[in-house]
Each structure stands twice: as C-alpha cells, then as structure tokens.
Amino acid sequence: MVVFDRPKSLTDKEFHYCPGCMHGVVHRIIAEVLDELEIKGKTVGIAPVGCSVFAYNYFNCDMIQSPHGRAPAVATGVKRVLPDNIIFTYQGDGDLAAIGTAETVHAAARGENITIIFINNAIYGMTCGQMAPTTIPGQITSTSPYGRKPEIQGLPIKVCEMLAAIDGTAYAERVSADCVKNIRGVKKAIKKAFINQIEKKGFSIVEVLSNCPTYWGMSPVESLEWVKTNMIPYYPLGVYKDVTANKENKKEEE
C-alpha cells in the first residue's frame, strides 16, 4: 500500500511560502530524498537569505543559516570538518547568482563534494519583486519597470552553462517545477545530486526553474504556464555536465 505521508525529514512547521509557490514542493522533494537515502541523521543543510531563509525551520536535520550568498563557502567549512556527513545548500537566484557568484564559482572550482539546490524564479521574492540576475530580457519587475533592457540592465546569468565550464563541477542539471512530468525530473536530479555526494563524486548543482505568482502578478496556474512558455525557452532544461556519467560510459565502452 502506498501512503502519501509527510516525509520524516520535514519538521511539523507550516511553510510560510505564498500560495502556489513551488518552494514547498522542492522542500518536500529534498526531504523525500533524505528519507529514501536514510541520510537525515548525518545531513547538515544550509539556508540562504531570500524567500527560503526559514528553510532551517523546515528540514528535520541540523541546519545553518548563512550570510547572503555565502552558503557555498559555509558549506565548504562544514564539509571540510565533516567529510563523511552530507552537506547541502538551498539557494535562490539573488543569493547564488548575484551576491554569491564568487562563492558559487569557487566552490565548484575546488570541486567541493557538496550538493547545491538552486531555485531560479527570475525575481527577488523576499524584498517584493525586484530584478534578479536571472530576470529574462523584457521581464517587468519593480526595478525593471519598463522590462529588463539588456543595454541598461545587462543580460541574465545562465548558471548551469557557466558552472559546466568549470573543471571542478561534477554534475550540473537544469530541471523545472512547472508540471507533474517535470517535477518527477526535479526529484530524479536532486536524488542524483545527493547520491553523487555520498559516492564522493564532487560538486553537484541542480537548478530548478520555479515560479513567483505573487510578484509576477499571476495566478499559480498562469505562473507555471509562464515558466513553460518564457523561462524554459531561455533556460533550456537538461544535463549540462555529468562527469559521473562519462566515467560510467567509459567503463562500459571498455
């Protein structure tokens, strides 16, 4: 019998997220993975600054709340002291791709054996809807009220493409939480990113395209449709780097 129950790796605390926001779904997926891999007891999670700042209240494992953008550096410190524990960061686009770009790139370059779950919803939610480094050209936010103009506000950062170019990255995949089929892909990728760490394969990042109904000014359904029609074309889904797969393929070839 299959029972849809609350994962043990989530606490009883009610999420504070807006109705229709996919943070809750991704939290649940991470918790399911921690349960399935039976690693809750040795996991230390790192919460960012942004909408998911309270993540430390939701995961039923030891948690650290990091300064804005510095989660990969904090994770480095924890992982180097506790190499056999499982360390993950949960970060949004402002945290990971703006203020914390250096920490992200260099954790990847060092090949830190950590797992990064990166939520890209192309906007700053916690401060109420400003432009993110991943806001797409033409997208209206409160600090790009005429639509993001590349000649003024520059172009978005494509995180998976960027990190795939770093030698130390073991695994980088972009998935989307816009529909049931794709959410299954989110789970598969997140699970792989944790298994990589257990198997000491190195730096793994999963970028999850997500929504922000509140500050996109849409209904939840409309916002998921917007992910599909606007974000996925700009941020194509797929595996951008997987050193672990290459190794296995090579073995098979041999």
């Binding site: 040795k42 209240n57 030891d62 550096a73 904090v74 180097r80 506790l82």
Partner: protein, 351 residues
C-alpha cells in the same frame, strides 16, 4: 625542560594556534600577514589539519563560520583592508554565537593605505567590527611570547564564551622575531560543543545555527542575553600591565607595538628623574576601564600614545571620567615613533 624557539610573529601565531588544537585555517594573502597562510599551508598537513586559500576574505570568514558551526577550532587572519571584508561574516558569527579566532596584523589606512605597521583599526576592532549590537574580545599582544600566550587564550575564550576573539597585532609584531617558549601555555577546560551542527544521528532534535530572529522580542531577548555575557567577560577577563602608577606625575597609556617603544621612553624618563607611570591594556575589549578609573585618582595626567590619530583617547577619557587631562601623541601607518619622540612628548605635556 622548556625550549626557546626564535620565531616571527606571524609564524608564532600560526604555531600557537596549532598547539591550541586548531586544525582549520582559511585565509587570503595580504601583506603584512601572508606568512600565516604560508606557514599554515606547510604545517597543517603535518598535523592532519587543513589550510585552504579562499577566493576572498569574505569566503574565508564564511568557511570559518561553517567550520565553527561544525564544532571545530578555526582560525582566519588578514590585514586591515581584508579585515574590513570580513566584517559581515564576523557579525553573523557573533549573531550565531559561534567561536573563532580572527587575527588582524594591522597596516596603514584608510583604503589601500600602506603596508607598514599601524594601529588604526582600533575603533573597528573595539567598536564596530560588524553591524548590530555586538562586541568582540580583542587582545593586543606586545611581544612574540605574548602573541603565543594570547593566541592560546583567544581559542579558550572563544569556546568558553561562544564568541569570535580578535588578536589585534600590527605589521611590526607580525614581521619581527623573538624567542618564544611554548611550554608556558596554560589551556583552560572547555565544555563539550553540544550545540554544533554535526548531524543529529536521529538521536536528538536538530541543532540550528542561526542569527535571524524575526520577532523583535526574541531578538531583543537574545541581544540582552549576549550583553550579560559581555558583562561576565568584562568582570573576569580584563588584562593589563602597569608600573609606577601611584603618585606619578603622568601615566603613559599604550598597547601593542607602541607600548614597547613607550616603555623604553618611560625607563629613560625615570632614569632622568621624571616621575612617569606606564599602563598597558592587554585586552582592548573588554577595556580595563575600572582600573584606569582608579588610576585617575593616583596620577596627575595621562598621555596616550598609539600608531593612529588617537583612537584610544576616548576610551581613556571615559574610563577616567575626564578627572585628569588626557593628552595624545601618535604617528600613523609605518611612521614609527622613536623612544625619543615619546620622551619629548612627555616633557612637552608636563610643561
């Protein structure tokens, strides 16, 4: 039998950290403290420890935050401009009640300033190392032997009070060599770190390392609690050195490398019949305010001397409640005063 070793200040800090059980160092090269990163790069692997050269001082202090959260004794070091970059992380370390030791081998400023010795980060270290209501413990050694003793003490105080502790040195102390005796270290007993984020092994509730308290009342309660801790530190951990205070005509107040120069001037002045006393704060935070308050009734005036534009003067005036005049003589960024300059400054003050 104890053995004397000739060491540079930067090396002495590093070796003292290792002898105090520190096995993690995260830093970034900057003159005049780079020897710490170099020494640690060589030495840590020999003791199964780890030294990582971070991509920035910001990353380094956040690696410190992570390692400290995981219960480790951890060190970072930098010099003035680099320490400014660490300010954010230090505030978070305070807000999360995390222990660590931070070394500032000061150089001249502001901005890129210079690379020569200075004490111009006194305000930053003692008053405003980060945003928010916060303090650090700040220790100011004036010899290489004292560097190793205070480094050992810094790790103990950090763990006992769950707070970052800063060693405020300067380019001269970092670079100069003196004999040291590591057998003189006297470690204190440290309680187990049951609060650390090391994985709960499904045996306890999650430990959460956090500095965010969204309810104003919760935040205020915690800040008040932390300030009670500062009161205890103020009561128990103040350190200073003094000489010939009672009945003196003037007391020179000085710390760190400048106190060595001042002491030479004081000895010469006394030899020549000037009744001068000497007071050296070893802890700049907590400041030896109580003792200086008493001294205000035992001498006629004060002369503060330091390698800056007079940043400790306010503290001396407050401690002495301005009962006696407080004068100042200082130089900045590498313009080290000679003992004779301080000698003459005392004579001018007494005129």
């Amino acid at each position: 039998m104890s053995e004397l070793v000739l060491m540079k200040g930067n090396e002495a800090i590093s070796e003292a950290a290792i002898k105090s059980g520190c096995r993690y160092y995260f830093g970034y090269p900057i003159t005049p403290q780079t020897e710490i990163a170099e020494y640690m790069s060589k030495r840590m692997p020999q003791v199964d420890g780890l030294c990582i050269q971070a991509e920035s001082e910001i990353a380094a202090i956040n690696m410190v935050l992570g390692a400290s959260s995981a219960g480790a004794r951890v060190l970072t070091s930098s010099s003035s401009p680099g320490v400014s970059l660490k300010g954010e992380g230090i505030s978070y370390l305070v807000g999360s009640d995390l222990p660590c030791v931070i070394v500032n081998v000061q150089r001249g400023g502001p901005g890129l300033g210079g690379i020569q010795p200075a004490q111009s980060d006194y305000y930053q270290a003692t008053k405003a190392m980060g945003h928010g209501d916060m303090r650090l413990i700040v220790l100011a050694p004036n010899s290489i032997q004292e560097i190793i003793e205070l480094t050992s003490l810094a790790f103990d105080l950090a763990d006992l009070y769950r707070t970052p502790v800063m060693i405020l040195a300067d380019g001269a102390l970092g670079q100069m060599m003196e004999p040291v005796d590591f057998d003189k270290l006297q470690p204190r007993e440290i309680p187990e770190k049951t609060w650390a984020a090391v994985g709960h092994q499904n045996k306890r509730e999650p430990n959460i390392i956090n500095s965010l308290y969204i309810e104003p009342k919760d935040l205020e309660d915690l800040v008040i609690e932390r300030y009670k801790k500062y009161d205890i530190i103020n009561e128990k951990e103040v350190k200073y050195e003094e000489e010939n205070i009672d009945g003196s005509d003037i007391v020179i107040v000085s710390y760190g490398i400048t106190s060595r120069i001042a002491k030479t001037a004081v000895d010469k002045l006394r030899k020549n019949g000037i009744n001068v006393g000497y007071f050296r704060p070893v802890t700049l935070s907590p400041f030896p305010a109580k003792r200086l308050g008493e001294i205000a009734d035992m001498t006629k005036r004060f002369l503060v001397t330091e390698l800056n534009m007079g940043q400790m003067v306010d503290d001396v005036k407050l401690a002495t409640k301005c009962k006696k005049p407080v004068d100042f003589y200082g130089r900045t960024g590498g313009m080290m005063p000679s003992p004779d300059e301080i000698y003459q400054a005392v004579l001018r003050t007494l005129k």
